[in-house]
């Protein structure tokens, strides 16, 4: 009898580990149903195919793009722009944010200017950037860098200003130099905020990439979007949207994975079981 009980309780222990995968499967139900519904609607002619392509047609378009090598060329161009702009913007933000975080005087000089600049919607820079920098890679990368700068700068500044003064005092006690204080106490302590800023910056980078490529480009996913519109090919537009979603999600997952690893020391609430 007790042996049976034991076996049952073992079973019960295993059950929760099955549940998450079931929950994951549940998440697929709605999209699959939508795709299936869409496919039937388009095939039966209820939705006009020249406006709403069937999912299978989008898949076909993607396949052709991939086979011809076009896909890789566009993805490559977009990835390079996002990576370049994001790295430049975030890098500058880390340097300047740390400086302003360290020094009240730097803050007094720079904060009002940054506040004013931040009030300008970044896309408003586009015409100016095109005038100044032409239509090649530079204005695109600069625009993305502009978009990536502010989330990182603001988050890092808030993070540094939130650091427990008591930890900084430990650094003082060991007579750390300014640079060592930044490297060994301020940046690690502000890391949770910094990651929040980086993830926000990354998603903005993708947004600004699309903006930049819609306006003037001969390659890239944004170019695919505008090309699809001009040639009346909604399948191309939807394919590009899908690719943007996948790339955005992938890059964010990468950053999130890095964040989880780098912040494993945190002792914060992770959410309940249910």
């Amino acid at each position: 009898m007790s042996a049976l009980n034991l076996r049952l309780s073992r079973w019960a222990e295993r059950l929760p580990s099955l549940r998450p995968s079931l929950a994951n499967l549940r998440g697929w139900a709605v999209p699959l149903a939508l795709l299936l519904g869409l496919e039937t609607l388009v095939r039966s002619g209820i939705l006009p195919a020249h406006q709403m392509p069937a999912p299978t047609q989008v898949a076909q378009t993607l396949f052709h793009l991939a086979v011809s090598g076009e896909l890789l060329r566009h993805i490559n161009a977009s990835l390079l722009r996002v990576a370049g702009g994001f790295l430049i913007g975030a890098g500058l933000a880390i340097v300047i944010g740390t400086w302003v975080g360290l020094s009240r005087r730097a803050e007094a000089y720079l904060e009002p200017t940054f506040q004013a600049l931040r009030a300008i919607p970044s896309l408003a820079w586009v015409p100016l950037l095109l005038l100044w920098l032409g239509i090649d890679e530079t204005p695109k990368v600069v625009l993305i860098a502009l978009g990536a700068f502010f989330p990182v700068y603001l988050a890092l500044l808030a993070g540094i200003r939130n650091i427990d003064r008591k930890l900084v005092e430990v650094g003082q006690l060991y007579q750390l130099s300014r640079f060592a204080l930044v490297r060994r106490i301020l940046l690690p302590a502000a890391l949770p905020n910094l990651f929040t800023g980086l993830r926000g910056a990354l998603s903005l980078s993708w947004m600004f990439l699309v903006a930049a490529e819609l306006i003037a480009a001969t390659r890239g996913l944004g170019y695919l979007l505008s090309d699809g519109r001009e040639t009346s090919r909604p399948d191309l537009v939807i394919a590009a949207i899908l690719l943007l979603a996948v790339l955005g999600k992938l890059s964010d997952s990468l950053l999130k994975y890095w964040e989880t690893r780098a912040l494993s020391w945190r002792d914060s609430y992770q959410g309940g079981e249910n």
């Binding site: 008591k166 005092e169 003082q172 007579q175 106490i185 890391l191 020391w265 002792d267």
Partner: protein, 243 residues
């Protein structure tokens, strides 16, 4: 100068509010001195001045040239809270002064001394309050200081852990020949550990009295002599309207 550390005629005010008034004290090699007083009387302020963390005071702070030998300032500090870096493991926290060029052997030795040998790789979030404070003590000792300054180091742990940590402190101070200046508001702790007890009180605070504790170690917490000295201190604290 035979004293390791000397504070002379220290006056300190925060925004015009006088906190310390003409406080002088000195710390001889190998000596354990307690600074006893009610909360808010300026004990932490005095200790921060001694640690060199607060330079905004009047009076003189003198260190024995002997302190300059060896690494760092020759002074270790343990705060009321452990103040461990949460992103560093216990061993890295202990050797914080040296960063990447830590003396691993010495860290291992210190962790054994404070009873944390198995926890070298643990992150601070995994430690209990008492364990974290042990790690903080090990960090204070890492620079092989001649002087250890402690600011109510055991006030946040339970009574049993506190007694253990007190014994640990007294043992380590003897083993490594460290002079200790201990700030506390705990009468038992002050007399059990110290060679001298300085009572701080009044507004602004002055040194009210100095009591010597001429008892051999190891001491018995229940001994009549300690009880008598605690009584004396209580009387003094009542008279200075500290309690």
């Amino acid at each position: 100068m035979s004293a390791l550390l000397q504070l002379q005629n220290i006056h300190k005010a925060y925004d015009g509010l006088r906190v310390l008034d003409d406080v002088s004290l000195s710390l001889a090699p190998g000596e354990i001195v307690s600074l006893l007083g009610p909360s808010g009387c300026g004990k932490s302020t005095l200790l921060r001045i001694a640690a060199g963390l607060d330079q905004d005071f009047s009076g003189a702070l003198e260190f024995n040239p002997l302190l300059q030998f060896g690494r760092g300032t020759g002074i270790g500090v343990v705060f009321q809270e452990p103040r461990l870096m949460p992103w560093l493991n216990v061993a890295q926290n202990v050797s914080f002064a040296d960063g990447w060029i830590a003396d691993e052997k010495w860290v291992q030795q210190l962790l054994r001394d404070v009873g944390l040998s198995g926890h070298a790789d643990a992150l601070p979030k995994k430690l209990s309050g008492g364990q974290a404070q042990r790690a903080a003590i090990a960090r204070g000792l890492y620079g092989k200081p001649h002087v250890l300054l402690l600011d109510e180091p055991f006030s946040a742990v339970d009574a049993f852990t506190r007694m253990k940590l007190q014994d640990l402190l007294s043992e380590l101070a003897e083993r490594y020949e460290i002079a200790v200046l201990l700030v506390t508001h705990d009468l038992d702790e002050a007399f059990y550990l110290s060679d001298r007890v300085l009572i701080l009180g009044g507004t602004p605070s002055r040194l009210q009295r100095e009591l010597a504790v001429p008892l051999a170690r190891p001491r018995d917490r229940r001994s009549a002599e300690l009880a008598y000295l605690r009584g004396e201190a209580l009387t003094e604290l009542y008279q200075s309207h500290a309690i």
